[in-house]
């Protein structure tokens, strides 16, 4: 349907993952009292980044397969 939806999904989650993860790296650890002492921004940001990259990889593979046909 024109636009492979995995591209916007992948890009959004890569962006969000970098934002969250980056914030988790540099933020004051006092704010993590809320999340029971866990730097949830860093960990979950990493998870979002991995998911976003996986989506982009799938889209890239599909585009390559289409190109070969």
């Amino acid at each position: 349907m024109g636009l492979d939806i995995r591209i916007p999904i992948g890009s959004l989650f890569v962006t969000l993952g970098l934002l969250l993860g980056g914030y988790g790296l540099f933020s004051n650890s006092a704010i993590y009292q809320r999340s029971l002492g866990l730097d949830i921004n860093l960990w979950w940001g990493g998870g979002l980044l991995a998911f976003g990259l996986a989506m982009l990889a799938l889209a890239w593979r599909a585009a390559r397969a289409r190109g070969r046909r």
Partner: protein, 571 residues
Amino acid sequence: MGVAVHPAPIDWTIMGVYFAFVLGIGAALKRHMRTSSDYFLSGRAIPAWIAGLAFISANLGAQEVIGMAASGAKYGMATSHFYWVGAIPAMVFLGVFMMPFYYGSRARSVPEYLKLRFDEKTRGLNAISFAVMTVFSSGISMYAMALLLNLLLGWHFTTSVLLSALIVLVYIFLGGLTSAIYNEVLQFFLIVFGFAPLVFLGLKDVGGWHGLVAGLHEAAVARGFAPDAWTSTWSVMSSPSSNPMGVEWISIAMGLGFVLSFGYWCTDFLVVQRALAADSMAAARRTPLIAAVPKMFFPFLVILPGMIAIASTMHGGASGLTLPHKEDGALNYDMVIPLMLGHYFPNGMLGLGLTALMASFMTGMAGNVTAFNTVWTYDIYQAYIRHEASDRHYLNMGRIATVVGIGLSIAAAYAANRFNNIMDLLQLLFAFVNAPLFATFLLGMFWKRTSGHGAFFGLLAGTAAAAVHHGLTLPGGSATGIQGGWIAVRHLYASQMAQNFWTAIYAFGACFLVTVVVSLATRPRAEEELKGLVYSLTPRVRADGERWYARPAVLGACVLAGAIVLNIIFR
């Protein structure tokens, strides 16, 4: 109210990024919208997995998320009946048995199927009641969002309503159904990623699964129930007094599991439209089956937070999460999700959680708006106002209907804000209109003798039966009026839920009976006209070309087996 949150620049950035993507998707799809079929049906070109996720996401509005979390706190694990009994079987039935007629008939909407199968008046009745209902549902969604944003962020009602309306307007106006579907898929992942850490942190806080169960036992005993009343689904359903829902197993199985569930999942155009957009018959049939897989596990995402919140409130979680009280002293269950967002999420994650919440409100609206513009354009405008016009004309009408639909939703949101009773009354009327629908479809698809007069008068009889049953019964402890008993109080139910389930059962029964009797007394349509519309007159769809594991019957059986296993584990 104590649930206000304090977003930092990082949170606003995350929300901003999301909105930029939403609008960007609409803009990128604009050049693909050339015909009315592109706009209303996504050109029937959506792959099964996307249609499936959109199918489930269209139903996963914020009211669903907030409402199910509230029910989790109020009723505990038994809330999962709305998933494992009240959704999965109907979704499997839709994919395996009904989709061949919806998709195969090339009907562009559910009302149009009724026109093909029965007659003009049955279509008209369904199209008009559905169009009115979607506008109000979208308005209610906007209203609920505005109230919540006011509590959380202190935004004005008007700011929230206009902002959400504008964003939804732009992306649907530009990209039509495809835009709505793409955003629903995006929202599906956002909800999962936004709320899963909430469950993780909440569980950790109350001492893991064992801590949760111990807390819930205490909560149940404190309310005069058996200790397992909040942690089991079936074993407390022997009588209405043994569980906090106030229902017994037969009304769960028949009222919720059969009438209400099949009536919603199999006939509501809001969800069926997603399957009609699929790129082939096989994909259309797989759409609800694929959707059923995440649906099966949603209780752990949306009900568990409620159970955690009540366990922590009653038993004392390590970090002191406590539900606020309403003005009348009762616990404010609707605050489960907003409260937990603010309690557990530091800045950063807070932005993601708020984004997931707003996204689900907006897709709730968008789903209704796309269903409305299609039914308006094809089933009302093309059917009754301008029969013959160019395709471009109908495409433009769809865009106008989008603007008008959103305008009417805004009016509905303000009406809801001003007169709360009007919304209760409307939702009650919709329930009466919807309750009998599944009887009409069941008879129409599987009994070729069913006639148009039978369907029409059956629907009217079913709605009347629902209204009369509601007028004669009352949930114990309620005042007569909007709660029921407005004719005379002949029976008291243990809860409103029990009353709803039985209203649906009576409506279905009346519609079924009257449809059969009137059909037998009137002339059926010629069999040639019913090919592709009725089970016995349609060649079976062969699934030979597909790999065995992708066949609808196999997928459907696996999904059903999964739901049965979950019912047994959490009995």
